[in-house]
């Protein structure tokens, strides 16, 4: 019988089209992903080091398909496939047929369950099969490695199958026992909440391992074990079913089995007749009225009524029905649960809000709206999809449709009252968001609540978008022959189309459902920006389109018993009145006009390009003008600019004069000018040469931004000429990607928009895979560190060395405009503010302009003016920033060199970009980093972000603005790495060593995970090619350790010397070799290996505690015996590791308890030379030891930091000393060919 029941279930499943539809969704989606990975689509190409058919990528895809919203879709599909296997027998009343047959519970229960489970496995195998077939297209290309069956099968077996068993057994049990799928669907929502919350909470480093074991789907475990896999490991390693992943899979498969067996045990055929009810009260069955004495009435007694069919009456009907529908929706458990879950989620996430380096931000209103209620929006989306099905189908499901169908109420009133009811219910949720948000703000003592911003966001922008989605999904439900197909279509359109369109680079907003056009996030400085009108335009466009769906839907409204569009239309065709037709035409016109206007703006006023087309532009630039690269050019030696900023019209007029000098030994007769080019560019330029008109225009290519002049009289060596330019920038209509480039309040731009001299190789296409496609030679990311030609330029500017600078900047009357230099003069003219800035010392050809309505906070340090230009209301951290500036100036002047300026200014700009950047005596600083950070005063480890960022940027005044490396590999060491080091020192002086621990741990983590995502090649620090994970993260760790090994004084002495030798020097610019050599000069011979390992190799350690034990002796002292080991590896550019002998100085320590009860008191600490793989120590201690560590403070880069410190009583984790090359060779990966 088991077999029959099992087969029956499967046969039934394979007869349903839905099974194939679900399979097809997964198949197609993953086929697309596979094809995209295989380079099938004609889109812009990026470089990659990883192959797309490795076990880790396949596992990543499968795990990713189960996350966030996709996870929700999975669970919902699983409910549809698996949950109803038994419940169905009840629903269709077929249960007596089974229960009266001689079958056992086991046969019935497991037959059904396993049948359904197998169907689930079939449907989800669509993911695997789709991806596999997609990647096959790339077979034989460098994008794919050898196709190994286990690469695909193992991830499926490790992740998908156990997850199906877990989810399946839960939804199956829930549905079987409550006899409705409602509980199962609810469970899906709860699961989504768990997924979303755990994702965010786990970001805290300390929880990773625990989270990896506890998270039910193995996603965290997968990320945990693969987090530091280098590209080489990603390409070759199998997913190791061991450690946390094994525990995780065992635990949750166990849970799944347990649930199945408990539910099997509890299941009985009788239970079917008394389902578990959660929400409804027991039915009242009394028939109190049955015996009621019948009174006699006659119809004549009935009051006369007037029937009113005017439009006014229709309005009244609509209003009444809307409220009626709203009440019905709000009363459903689903609504209450969504509201409750959303609320809980907001409260939980409030605890983890806005973490930057684990530092919390103040709960400003936009943070609340974006971070906390963002996920609520997702819930609202789900609610809309679900409720639109409910609303449209409820009358038919509850069989009131015939009663309503014969009333004279119009289809439009019926549709729009349901529509309005749903809109109102979403508005109620928005009220809840607003109230909760304000409560969160107030309860954390934050009083700068902005109710207007809440209202504008929740009841303006978001509501409009929501209304369009509601209209769409309700209309879809009218058209579809059943509710589930409607759900499906809505989910696909709302969730998946943008994903698939993205893969295909179909990015035009005209066909991206409910697109909003170019948009800016809310900024305290600039409010909603200038794009509110554009937003409304897009929403009008989509509303008109949705109305074009809704209006016919009212014709096809399922009023009667007819099914099929044709019959329904025939039934209602009398509604096809002239007014109706007129409305259709009006909507069509609105859609055409708004859509046309959008098209006009994006494609006519501006040029709309796909990434692929952009790529071609770059290729054309290179092909046409590459020959110019080596024609000798003049160099900018002085710059004088007048920049008139017009914030109201967001435009700019600028005039500038460059002094150009011939630094070559030969005359220069050609001048190549690079400017912002492009079709229909918003920039226009005019060039002239002061009083010297003796030039011939050879070429003026505004498309590519290249202008070429020939001097009639070549400029002799050492001579200079003046070059004048006029620049006008005016936005035309709207296009994509707005930035801080002239906004109403908070303008920030730099001299990249000014003309530059010479061909600029930075505009060349950088992806080598793409270059190959276009027949261009491969191009290194950066020139070789020893490339002496490249070192003739610094890495900031190709056309200048150190320049003189002055600028007049003007702006509107209520704003202050700032440029580098010192304010010499300030005046008003024609209702505008003018500022004249002049720099008194040479600076790099790199300067920025800012304008906004600023408040200014001033201070000074030893004659250096400190000014912070900030947005009113952002006073929170000004004192910290000033404190940081002072401490920085103190440390840097004492340890590095004198400060070259008399002023430090920090100037805030809107959060459209979130960075701070150092220009000469000027530091633009985004409002989103630092200005609203909130320090936790009680946590000694919390990182003071504003303090740190400020110290880093101030350090750049030395590192970049005093010494600048050539345009070659490794030069970022002398700017970014050194600024990190400087900031670390200042932070340590202020906050103590302890506060550094968390910071360095983050940096180590960023480095180890950053290198796994390297898409070209990892290089040693000294050869760094502008790779953030190396020059920031590894740089911090390395410099901090170097300071420890050499001593701060020695290291700083070396740094001082290097600065003296190189500050303000021009071509040939210094390089990192010179820097490292200077350090080596100060390094004792015994440690030269260390400097080499740190800078010249990619060195990774595996330091570990092997065993440990202690005995307490009679005199009360302790004898501790332990063995520690160290292995050292050099990695290649793909992260392939080669073990090398170790003979290194490494800290070994034993820790005890402090008086405060912290377990980090050093009882014994030595830097020993590990000249063997393992060493055993026996030492006597007076205090009770708690743990033993080797390199306990993680000074060295360690590929698994968790085994460095082990507590007594714990077994040290098993260590793997593999080089991870234990797999068959044969991977073809092309790098830099």
């Amino acid at each position: 019988m088991f077999r029959e029941i099992f087969l029956f279930e499967i046969k039934l499943g394979f007869k349903k089209p839905a099974t194939y539809i679900y399979f097809a969704i997964y198949f197609l989606l993953n086929l697309m992903l596979g094809l995209a990975a295989a380079g099938f689509f004609d889109v812009a190409t990026m470089d990659t080091n990883t192959v797309a058919n490795s076990a880790s990528v396949v596992a990543g895809i499968l795990v990713g398909m189960n996350q966030d919203v996709l996870g929700l879709v999975n669970s919902v599909i699983l409910v549809a496939i698996m949950a109803t296997a038994i419940q169905r027998d009840y629903e269709y009343n077929t249960f007596p047929f089974f229960f009266t047959k001689p079958i056992t519970k086991t046969q019935y229960y497991f037959g059904r369950f396993l049948g359904a489970f197998l169907l689930g496995v079939f449907v989800f195998s669509g993911q695997l099969v789709g991806y596999f077939l997609g990647t096959l297209y790339g077979a034989g290309t460098p994008l794919m490695g050898p196709f190994l069956p286990q690469n695909f099968l193992m991830p499926f077996l490790i992740f998908v199958v156990p997850n199906l068993l877990l989810l399946g057994s839960i939804v199956f049990s829930l549905t079987t026992f409550t006899r409705s799928t409602f509980a199962a669907y609810l469970f899906c929502i709860v699961l989504l909440v768990i997924r979303l919350i755990s994702d965010r909470i786990i970001s805290d480093l300390d929880n990773k391992e625990l989270a990896a074991i506890l998270e039910p789907f193995g996603a965290q475990a997968f990320m945990y074990i693969t987090e530091y896999w280098t590209p080489a490991e990603q390409n070759t390693r199998m997913i190791p079913l061991s450690g946390v992943l094994l525990y995780n899979r065992l635990i949750w498969t166990g849970v799944a089995l347990l649930i199945s067996f408990i539910s099997f045990y509890k299941f009985s055929f009788q239970q079917f007749l008394t389902p578990i009810r959660w929400f409804s009260k027991s039915r009242q069955t009394d028939e109190a009225s049955a015996a009621h004495i019948q009174e006699q009435h006659t119809l004549a007694d009935l009051p006369k009524v007037t029937l009113d069919f005017s439009w006014k009456s229709s309005l009244k009907q609509w209003a009444y029905l809307s409220v009626f529908e709203l009440k019905k929706l709000v009363q459903t458990p689903f609504f209450l649960i969504i509201a409750l879950l959303g609320l809980i989620m907001m409260l939980i996430l409030a605890q983890y809000m806005g973490s930057i380096y684990d530092t919390v931000t103040y709960p400003v209103t936009y943070q609340i709206l974006e971070m906390l209620s963002g996920i609520f929006q997702l819930f609202i989306l789900i609610l809309i999809v679900f409720f639109s099905g409910t609303l449209i189908w409820r009358d038919r499901e509850q069989k009131t449709d015939e009663l309503i169908g014969v009333t004279p109420v119009s289809n439009s009133v019926l549709f729009f009252s349901k529509f309005t009811g749903l809109v109102l219910s979403v508005m109620l949720l928005n009220v809840l968001i607003m109230v909760t948000g304000i409560a969160i703000q107030l309860s954390s003592g934050f009083t700068d609540v902005q109710p207007l911003q809440y209202i504008q966001t929740l009841f303006g922008r978001r509501l409009l978008s929501t209304i369009i989605i509601i209209g769409f999904s309700m209309a879809v439900q009218v058209y579809t022959p059943n509710k589930y197909l409607g759900f499906f279509i809505n989910l696909v359109v709302i969730l998946f189309t943008s994903l698939i369109f993205g893969l295909l680079e179909w990015n035009h907003p005209l066909y991206h459902f409910n697109s909003s056009g170019p948009s800016l996030p809310y900024s305290d400085m600039n409010g909603f920006g200038h794009l509110v009108g554009v937003f409304l335009l897009f929403k009008t466009y989509w509303m008109a389109i949705v109305m074009l769906l809704i209006l016919p839907a009212t014709l096809l409204w399922a009023r009667g018993k007819e099914s099929g569009w044709k019959a329904r239309y025939k039934l209602s065709k009398e509604l096809l009145t002239p007014t109706f037709k007129l409305s259709l035409v009006v909507c069509l016109l609105i859609a055409i006009v708004t859509g046309g206007y959008i098209y006009y703006n994006l494609n006519v006023l501006n040029s709309y390009k796909s990434p692929k087309e952009d790529e071609k532009e770059l290729v054309a630039y290179e092909q046409e003008y590459k020959y110019l690269q080596h024609i000798p050019q003049l160099r900018v030696t002085a710059v004088s600019v007048q920049a008139d900023i017009y914030p109201e019209s967001r435009s700019l007029k600028a005039k500038g004069r460059y002094t150009l000098r011939n630094n070559h030994q030969i005359p220069v007769d050609t001048l190549v000018i690079n400017s912002v080019g492009g079709e229909k560019s918003w920039y226009s330029y005019r060039f002239s040469f002061g009083d010297n008109p003796d030039v011939t225009l050879l070429k003026n290519d505004s498309l590519r931004g290249i202008t070429i002049y020939k001097f009639t009289n070549p400029v002799a060596p050492g001579d200079s000429v003046v070059f004048d330019f006029e620049l006008a920038y005016a936005p035309r209509g709207f296009a994509s990607s707005p930035s801080t480039m002239i906004v109403e309040n908070g303008t920030f731009f730099n001299n990249k928009i000014f003309p530059s001299i010479g061909y600029d190789p930075n505009y060349e296409l950088s992806s080598n895979t793409a270059r190959k496609k276009y027949g261009l030679p491969a191009k290194p990311r950066m020139a070789d560190i020893n490339d002496s030609l490249a070192r003739m330029n610094n890495y900031i500017a190709n056309d200048a060395d150190w320049i003189r600078f002055e600028a007049v900047v003007s702006t509107s009357e209520d704003q202050i405009a700032i440029a580098p230099g010192y304010l010499e003069k300030q005046w008003k003219e024609n209702g505008r503010n003018y500022f004249y800035y002049k720099m008194d010392s040479p600076i790099l050809h790199f300067y920025a302009f800012q304008s906004a309505r600023y408040q200014i906070k001033r201070d000074s340090w030893k004659g250096v003016n400190i000014e912070i230009y900030y947005h009113k209301g952002h006073e929170y951290n000004l004192d910290r920033m000033i404190e940081s500036i002072k401490s920085s100036l103190a440390y840097y002047t004492e340890n590095f060199s004198p400060y070259q300026h008399r002023q430090v200014r920090i100037i805030e700009f809107p959060r459209y970009a979130s960075f701070a950047q150092s220009f000469p005596n000027t530091i633009p600083f985004s409002e989103s980093i630092g200005f609203i950070a909130k320090m936790d005063k009680d946590d000694p480890e919390s990182i003071d972000v504003p303090f740190y960022v400020t110290a880093h940027e101030v350090a750049h005044q030395w590192w970049a603005h005093q010494v600048i490396g050539g345009n070659v590999q490794g030069s970022v060491v002398m700017s970014e790495t050194m600024s990190q080091y400087a900031a670390l020192m200042v932070m340590e002086k202020t906050y103590g060593k302890k506060a550094m621990k968390k910071f360095l741990k983050h940096e180590m983590d960023d480095y180890l995970s950053g290198r796994t995502m390297e898409n070209k090649k990892e290089v040693p620090l000294m050869l760094c090619e502008n790779q953030g994970y190396i020059h920031y993260s590894k740089g911090s760790v390395v410099m901090y350790a170097l300071r420890d090994y050499l001593g701060e004084d020695v290291l700083n002495a070396a740094i001082r010397k290097y600065l003296q030798q190189t500050a303000f020097s021009g071509p040939m610019y210094t390089n990192a070799i010179e820097f490292v050599n200077t350090i080596k000069e100060y390094t004792p011979d015994s440690l030269v290996y260390l400097v080499k390992d740190m800078f010249e190799e990619i060195t990774v350690y595996e330091n570990y505690v092997k065993s440990l034990d202690y005995k307490q002796k009679e005199d009360g002292t302790y004898e501790v015996t332990f063995t520690v080991g160290a292995a050292k590896y050099y990695a290649d550019s793909l992260g392939k590791q080669k073990r090398v002998p170790v003979a290194d100085y490494i800290d070994v320590a034993v820790f005890g308890e402090t008086e405060k009860g912290e377990e980090d008191k050093e009882l014994w600490m030595q830097r020993i030379k590990m000249d063997q793989e393992e060493k055993t120590f026996t030492i006597q201690l007076a205090e009770k030891p708690i743990s033993v560590g080797i390199d306990p403070y993680l000074k060295l880069i360690d590929r698994s930091p968790i085994n460095n410190v082990v507590k007594f009583g714990h077994t040290p984790p098993k260590v793997s000393l593999d080089e991870y090359e234990n797999r068959p060779k044969g991977i073809v990966v092309e790098v830099e060919s």
């Binding site: 009524v305 029937l307 009244k316 009907q317 015939e402 009333t407 007819e562 009398e574």
Partner: protein, 289 residues
């Protein structure tokens, strides 16, 4: 005012001929539509009630072409479908008020009065605050009539209203219906002969989408007068009898079986003539070969 149904036919997509050339004229009073399940009654009811379109034919209420002016008819229509449900967790008062709004009674006070009046009329006033989902079958049917009576309809259609009601409820329901039937056109579709016998002035018998018989109950009875015969047989013999005669009904009695057959002349063979009832007419009509 009369309801005129002319040449109405309807074939479903699956080939079932639900209505075949129906021609009917229905005047004021209670009109019975008798037929077995699947005879096409509900299709006809729904077609009149604007919920379905026929393939061919026309239906007029007075001068109103109801297939072309469905919204006009809906203003004058009361309908109680065979199979209907109500929203859960809505009280009778609220729901009746809800339907009153849908019917276009936009004056709040009038609405209140008519709702109260109808609940009194149908004896539901005392339980007006209870959820309809908790009503018994009879109460639900009465509520169904109450909503059908909203807005002074001139045509009321009730589809199988008494199925499943206990005798007392049925009686109560008949009383309600008969009063309504005095003033307007009421079409009552049913497969219970008694309903028609007690209530209807005129009636038709429908089977397989066609009208088999039309007239008053008395006229109908006349058509089979002297043509119904009965006999007590063994159960096993039924098959043989069915082959030989038009057996219109059978009833078990003390282990044996009474069968009734329709025959123009005396079938002899032990049959005896019986006095006819409307039931015989019905069975004779629908078993006609």
């Amino acid at each position: 005012m009369e309801l005129k149904i002319k040449d109405v036919s309807k074939t479903y997509a699956n080939g079932v001929k639900a209505l075949h050339n129906i021609n009917l004229t229905i005047g004021r009073g209670m009109f019975g539509l008798l037929g077995p399940n699947g005879a096409g009654k509900s299709t006809l009811m729904r077609t009149i009630a604007t919920l379905q379109d026929p393939d061919t034919g026309s239906i007029h209420l007075g001068d109103l072409d109801i297939l072309r002016n469905k919204s006009e008819l809906r203003k004058k229509l009361g309908y109680l479908p065979q199979d209907f449900g109500f929203y859960p967790k809505v009280s009778a008062w609220d729901l009746l008020n809800h339907f009153a709004v849908l019917k276009g009674i936009s004056n709040k006070n009038e609405r209140k009065e008519i709702v109260a009046g109808l609940l009194h009329q149908t004896n539901l006033y005392e339980v007006r605050k209870r959820y309809i989902s908790e009503y018994s079958g009879g109460m639900r049917q009465r509520f169904g009539i109450a909503q059908a009576l909203l807005g002074n309809p001139s045509l009321i259609i009730v589809d199988e209203p008494t199925a499943g009601l206990d005798p007392m409820e049925r009686n109560r329901f008949h009383n309600l219906l008969s009063e309504i039937g005095e003033q307007i056109i009421v079409i009552l579709s049913t497969h219970i002969v008694d309903d028609v016998k007690n209530l209807c002035r005129r009636m038709v018998v429908m089977n397989r989408g066609t009208i088999m018989l039309e007239g008053t109950p008395a006229e109908a009875q006349e058509t089979v007068q002297h043509k119904i015969w009965q006999k007590l047989i063994n159960k096993e013999e039924l098959k043989t009898y069915k082959e030989q005669y038009q057996v219109i009904s059978s009833a078990i009695s003390e282990g044996k079986m009474w069968i009734r057959v329709y025959a123009e002349t005396d079938p002899a063979n032990g049959f005896e003539q019986v006095s006819v009832s409307l039931e015989d007419v019905y069975f004779a009509t629908i078993t006609k070969k």
